[in-house]
């Protein structure tokens, strides 16, 4: 399986078939028993995985944002050394764009709904200003209108590479999207 720059790839397959593990492998969270993952021509190993993680914006399917106030999470992400060059100032624009209230920053993560958590994690992913997105079931708790908005955001940008795990048809309706059948191990579209 090979993904080029600018590709929008949706991985399809049954739940539990290991689609999410594929993302974990690429991020160096799991070591492959067999075979090798390459990122920008280099094998993902103990050294390179740290760099890989700084180039990919990743959202896991459980949206594991931790606990505490939402604004604290933004501060934490912005405060990391690797993100020192980033400007998190435009977060309000994105909060509006994804149809959340600005007051959400003052809420605690635990009291957010599933849909709110998904949108917060999307906003953080965008603020990281990376060109590659690994998105694992990020629209499962959103309504139709928001699903379209999110899918549109990640599929219609030329310089963005997206690797998407989802059961949502909203991702595969776009003709330019490539679909990889994870069980058959073949490209469908």
């Amino acid at each position: 399986m090979k993904i080029d720059e600018g590709d929008k790839v949706v991985i399809s397959g049954k739940s539990g078939s290991g689609k999410s593990s594929l993302l974990s492998l690429a991020l160096g969270f799991v070591k492959p028993d067999d075979g090798q993952v390459y990122f920008e021509g280099l094998p993902v190993d103990e050294k390179t995985s740290w760099n890989v993680r700084r180039k990919i914006a990743y959202i896991d399917q459980d949206v594991s944002l931790g606990s505490g106030r939402v604004s604290k999470l933004f501060e934490f992400a912005a405060g990391l050394k690797a993100n020192a060059h980033l400007d998190f100032g435009c977060s309000e624009e994105l909060i509006n764009f994804f149809e959340l209230e600005p007051s959400i920053l003052q809420k605690s993560i635990q009291e957010l709904s599933g849909g709110e958590r998904q949108r917060i994690s999307i906003i953080i992913a965008v603020l990281l200003n990376r060109n590659i997105f690994f998105l694992d079931e990020i629209t499962s708790s959103l309504d139709k209108h928001l699903k379209n908005k999110v899918a549109d955001y990640f599929l219609n940008r030329e310089n963005v590479t997206s690797l998407i795990v989802s059961h949502d048809p909203v991702w595969t309706e776009v003709p330019s999207v490539r679909i990889f059948d994870f069980e058959e191990k073949t490209w469908q579209q």
Partner: protein
């Protein structure tokens, strides 16, 4: 003012008080009678042996023997704190031993060399008694500290990985967990310190007063020992976490499953 001796027979009568927990256990079906008696038996045997041992230790007062005994105490403390965590002894014994030793020896020798004007810094009465108090407390702190750290990290794996994906370095990603476990580990010690003298007359002070010294002297020793306990506890907890981290996480920054004991893995 010498301490009044307790005749052995009277000491035995102390156990009459056990009628109370035995009755409570019976009434509420707590099944505590057996553990109560096994623990008591262990305590009596261990203390009897150590009583004899300490007597000779104090008589010989040989620097090598004293130091050797302190090392044995450290080994036992490390064993019991690792045992109460979910980690494998074989993996983390060495780093835990290194951190317990550093923290205890550093503080004990600082006291024995600079604070208490001792002629012999290996004097059993100070080296072993002070060392033991520090170890007992480090032990308690570490039981909370390392268990919390690794349990949190394990239960929170997805969030931890998410933080790594945000671009966090190893250290940045682990810092919140280190903070939480050290704070939790230190809580009982800080609480004990804050209520000292009011809620509890601590063991050290009771011992010194019963031993015939003036309360003023007892208080001086108590202050000294509490400062020493806080310092050695925080040092050993932080060091244990930092040193075991390198064993328990792989170079991808991910927690290794094989460091947990079988029943805990998964």
């Amino acid at each position: 003012m010498a301490t009044i001796d307790i005749p052995v027979l009277s000491l035995a009568l102390t156990f009459l008080l056990f009628l109370i927990p035995v009755a409570i256990s019976r009434i509420f079906g707590l099944k505590l009678i057996k553990p109560l008696f096994t623990s008591t038996l262990r305590m009596v045997i261990q203390l009897a042996l150590i009583g004899v041992f300490l007597k000779y230790l104090f008589i010989w007062n040989n620097p090598f023997v004293n130091f050797g005994w302190l090392v044995i105490m450290i080994v036992v403390a490390v064993f019991s704190s690792v045992k109460s965590s979910s980690l494998k002894m074989s993996k983390i014994f060495i780093p835990a031993f290194a951190s317990f030793s550093t923290a205890t020896l550093l503080v004990v020798f600082y006291l024995n060399i600079f604070i208490i004007p001792l002629e012999n810094v290996f004097d059993a009465r100070y080296l072993i008694v002070l060392g033991g108090m520090l170890l007992g407390n480090s032990l308690r702190g570490n039981i909370v500290g390392i268990s919390t750290f690794y349990r949190q990290l394990k239960n929170d794996t997805n969030h931890y990985l998410y933080v790594l994906s945000l671009g966090a370095s190893h250290y940045e990603a682990l810092l919140p967990y280190i903070r939480e476990s050290v704070q939790l580990a230190l809580k009982p010690t800080l609480a004990a310190m804050a209520t000292m003298g009011i809620v509890a007359l601590p063991g050290m002070m009771t011992g010194v007063i019963l031993g015939g010294a003036s309360p003023e002297l007892a208080i001086k020793y108590q202050i000294l020992i509490m400062v020493a306990i806080v310092v050695s506890t925080i040092t050993s907890v932080v060091l244990t976490i930092l040193l075991t981290m390198h064993v328990c996480l792989n170079r991808f920054g991910v927690l290794r499953n094989d460091v947990f004991r079988k029943s805990q893995a998964g």
